[in-house]
């Protein structure tokens, strides 16, 4: 059997993907910070408050674009793992949000911001990616 020689972890496509994701993450954090700062300083309300609240979403679109571009650089097996992980994350998020919605409405649980749906989705996606990679690598 031929000796196993590991491929470099940071291939050019991984580096490109990491660079794009880092750029849009920094942009997102910067826009969020700027938006909150301006909103508080100006005591913004009405249309201005809505506009300022949506400014960070511009970077979110960039993050989605960065993910899709990175996805296209993967091979078919790696893409399948990503699709599976995304499906698991979507299912977990849908279940968690509906279940908590019922708990909130019917059982008097405290109101939780919609922000947490994103956290649940990212967390579930990350765990699913790790799990699927481990399952297919062993």
């Amino acid at each position: 059997m031929a000796e196993y020689k590991p491929q470099p972890l940071l291939t050019p496509s991984v580096k490109r993907s990491f660079g794009r994701t880092t750029f849009y993450t920094v942009l997102y954090l910067t826009l969020t910070f700027a938006s909150v700062t301006v909103m508080r300083a100006q005591h913004a309300s009405g249309a201005l408050a809505i506009a300022l609240a949506l400014v960070p979403a511009v970077a979110s679109v960039g993050l989605v674009r960065a993910y899709l571009l990175g996805l296209r650089e993967l091979d078919e097996f790696q893409r399948r793992l990503q699709y599976e992980a995304m499906l698991i994350a979507a299912a977990v998020t849908a279940f968690a949000s509906v279940a908590y919605g019922f708990l909130e409405t019917l059982a008097g649980f405290p109101h939780v911001s919609a922000f947490y749906a994103m956290l649940v989705m990212v967390g579930a996606f990350s765990l699913a990616v790790v799990f699927l990679n481990l399952r297919h690598s062993l």
């Binding site: 059997m1 031929a2 000796e3 196993y4 020689k5 590991p6 491929q7 993967l74 091979d75 078919e76 097996f77 790696q78 399948r80 990679n133 297919h136 690598s137």
Partner: protein, 71 residues
């Protein structure tokens, strides 16, 4: 689907990484195909056949087809 990837690779003294480079896929993908955890698409199966200079049927075999033929 069964395949002879591991045997063919060993005959040529290629590592998984060598084959992955030739196929322009990740080593993880080669490992998943070899261990039967992933069946490649038709274009990738053709590419594998070209790399080994063999017909697809000489590399991959359909277990269901073999079972049906034996009945």
């Amino acid at each position: 689907m069964k395949n002879r990837l591991r045997v063919l690779r060993a005959e040529r003294n290629w590592s998984q990484a060598d084959l992955a480079t030739r196929l322009d896929v990740s080593r993880q993908s080669v490992n998943a195909i070899e261990t039967g955890k992933y069946d490649p698409s038709l274009p990738l199966a053709f590419k594998i056949a070209r790399v080994f200079d063999l017909q697809i049927e000489a590399i991959f075999s359909d277990e269901d087809g073999v079972a049906q033929a034996a009945e």
